[in-house]
Amino acid sequence: MFKTLTMTVNGREVSIPVDERESLADTLRNRLGLTSVKKGCEVGECGACTVLIDGEAFDTCIYLSLWAEGRSILTVEGLKSPTGELNPVQQAFIDEAATQCGFCTPGLIMSAVEIVGTGKRYSREELRKLISGHLCRCTGYDSILNALERVVEQTYKHVGHEGEAPGPAGHA
């Protein structure tokens, strides 16, 4: 059965009909054209479909679209600044060559946005755990962790204080 779903996507309120059997990954890709949301495993193992829902990272392949009613969704498409510049997280991935085939990249970037949004400093081991819900079959993770370390450090220098988290957000 079709139902109307109202949610905020990348800062804009949308109201669209969705099938109640639909996953949020399908809704974002097929009805809103947000193809940064990748469908990898479709069972919540690989993290390629990760987006932020009310600031927290979720696998949208195992999230029913109707559950997003009234919530705020952020995908990679919403990270660009109004003047077209990349988000610092995206820039760090480029600077550290943290992308090869690119399939896992959007999901990892969204988790990274959540991590950076806490304004906290993390050790490489902690970062490893924080991205353990993502699979990358190209890079061996080292360059991804380099990118995360770089952007976490940058953010910490600008806004960071232990325990004073500005909360996960999009482009600052």
Binding site: V43, G44, A57, D59, G133
Partner: protein, 295 residues
């Protein structure tokens, strides 16, 4: 698209109970990290779902005036892992919740779903058994309290009736105060892994901190359901902390567990883990209780 025949989003627990009574085929879905995967697998294809996802009355942790911990069943693992009350009172359970899946799974998965699934490998189960948790079930005939040791009837089977929702998990003050605890999970990877074996140990020491006043030793995947080694626990009541104590506990545990072989690990390997993990978990629990376990 999921193969779901009927979907109903409940507006409250009472509404969910009503919807379950109206449809004897309906399955409860909370976070969905197990149910949706089983639909994908085809095991639950064509199912009818009653969703309790996002119900505010099922979320949160509180400590009552009597010191009882009340964890609402729809609370996500990430919230449990970071909850200040739980970190202070039952850090072992917060740690166990942090061993589930990966960050995204911990954001969606709920402790109630973990328990209601009835699987022996649930990361929260062994800690909840060690903590003597009480489960609050709400159904058409009202609310009843079930001790966790009476909840499981077999693999994937529990005493929860069709029209009942697990609404809260309760831990009495006497079941955590004065204890040191430790949960250990053995898996082949650090994340996105189902436990090969889980072991939760809790220790309360005598006032001189030289002997065991009370031991609780619980396992996941050491039997078809989560379990406690009650005979071993009784046998070491009052025992002095000596190097032989850990041997006795490990040997006692081996006599009580009934692990099986599966594709994840053989029975023999699980027995090895039962023995070794009891030593490590009990040793750490003694330290966490304020004792010295230089044994």
């Amino acid at each position: 698209m999921y193969d779901i025949e009927k979907f109903y989003q409940a507006r409250s627990v009472a509404d969910a109970v009503r919807a379950l009574r109206a449809d004897e085929r309906a399955i409860v879905i909370a976070g969905g990290s197990d149910v949706l995967i089983e639909i994908r697998d085809g095991k639950l294809a064509g199912c009818s779902l009653v969703s309790i996802h996002g119900l505010a009355e099922l979320e949160g942790v509180e400590r009552t005036a009597e010191g009882e911990i009340v964890i609402r069943a729809g609370t996500s693992f990430s919230r449990i892992a970071n909850d200040p009350i739980l970190l202070r009172t039952v850090p072992m359970l917060a740690y166990a919740a942090d061993q589930v899946g990966g960050p995204q799974i911990r954001n969606i998965g709920t402790i109630g779903g973990n328990v209601c699934n009835g699987v022996t490998s649930a990361d929260s189960a062994s800690s909840l058994w060690a903590l003597n948790a009480t489960l609050e079930l709400t159904g058409g005939e009202g609310t009843r309290l079930v001790p966790i040791r009476e909840f499981y009837t077999g693999p994937g089977k529990t005493v929860r009736r069709h029209d009942e929702i697990l609404t809260a998990i309760r831990i009495a003050r006497a079941d955590y105060e004065g204890f040191g605890g430790c949960y250990l999970k053995y898996g082949k990877r650090n994340a996105m892994e189902i436990a090969t074996l889980g072991c939760a140990a809790m220790v309360r020491l005598t006032p001189d901190q030289k002997a065991i006043a009370e031991l609780r030793l619980a396992y996941g995947v050491a039997a078809p359901t989560p379990m406690r080694c009650t005979a071993t626990e009784e046998a070491v009541r009052g025992a002095a902390i000596t190097p032989e104590l850990l041997d006795r506990i490990a040997q006692g545990a081996l006599n009580e567990v009934k692990p099986r072989s599966s594709w994840r690990a053989s029975r023999e390997f699980r027995l090895q883990l039962v023995s070794e993990m009891s030593r490590r978990a009990v040793r750490q629990a003694i330290v966490n209780a304020g004792g010295e376990a230089d044994v």
